[in-house]
Amino acid sequence: MTLLARTPRVAVIVFPGTWSERDFAHVAEAVLGWEARLVWHTDDLGAPDAVVLPGGFAHGDHLRTGAIARFSPVMRAVEAFAAAGGPVIGSCNGFQVLTEAGMLPGALLRNDHLEFRCDWQPLRIERPASARAWLGDLADGEVILLPISHGEGRYVADEATLDALEREGRVVLRYADEAGRVSPEANPNGSERGIAGIVNERGNVLGLMPHPERAAEPEVGGTDGLRLFRSLERWLLEQPAVAERPLSSG
């Protein structure tokens, strides 16, 4: 018995000021037929198969993006879920929350040109096996197209951290042109080394500035984002611990 006996369940965290939670829930429920539960930041996390930290402006982005969301009560449960190996994805503001919470290294600062950037962005996939729960269906070197929508997406970390991330294969998405070339011209925000997405050491926590939930139906211009969800679905099927978890919890 290895197959997931039921549909995957995702918890989508909602802070005051989050704005992408309904898009994630729409993809999970209407496109994929999963169960999605919106979890207010002071509520119980329950027992999901995966946790989504969506985009937006949690707590108004005051002080620093993600700085106050990090202290929201639900984050203790999200940290425990991740520490137990549970898959967590933070997109855009969710990525900012993950760095502030120390669940991923580095920080995200104001775009180098000071403008908000909303566009379709080619991204080069690297070392997808490092983030198998989220990128298992994608190939090393492949270029996908996802929307970006942010004013503070410039990834920074000290040189030693950047070197370690690359050495360990934990840079999994870089801003690129359509041919997959990483260059200053293809970099929409001045991120160090063109970094658009990274994973934690264990590979279960993915943070990325782009919005996979906004590229899951052909009607909106692309479906590459759906491949992250499909990767997760396949990964969950392979996890006996998850499959055997009782249905009544949560």
Binding site: L63, R64, A67, I68, F71, T99, E100, P105, G106, A107, L109, R110, N111, D112, H113, L114, R154, V156, A157, D158, G190
Partner: protein, 93 residues
């Protein structure tokens, strides 16, 4: 007793500060050609209660480390003083 802390948060040197650069170029275009660098930051004035100076210092230091500055890209410095006016008002309402 009541204390007032002024906390200054700045980007670490070496971290690009596009906001400061933009302010600097605005100043130069306004007729201040000698402006060579502007670094932007945040100023927070915090009023709070603590029994003595040592406890107040420890509290501000902890506030900076836990919330006010992110050591990945920022540094914090602060000045602390007793809010004597407030204490006098409290003594003679």
């Amino acid at each position: 007793m009541r204390w007032l802390a002024e906390v200054h948060v700045a980007l670490r040197s070496g971290i690009a500060d596009p906001e400061g650069q933009t302010i600097g170029s605005a100043l130069r275009s306004l007729g201040y050609p000698t402006v060579s660098e502007v670094r932007s930051g945040k100023l927070m004035r915090i009023a709070f209660e603590a029994p003595d100076h040592g406890a107040a210092e420890a509290a501000v230091d902890e506030m900076c480390r836990r919330l006010l500055a992110n050591p990945v890209m920022e540094t914090a410095s602060w000045e602390l003083r007793a809010d004597e006016q407030q204490d006098a008002e409290a003594a003679n309402p």
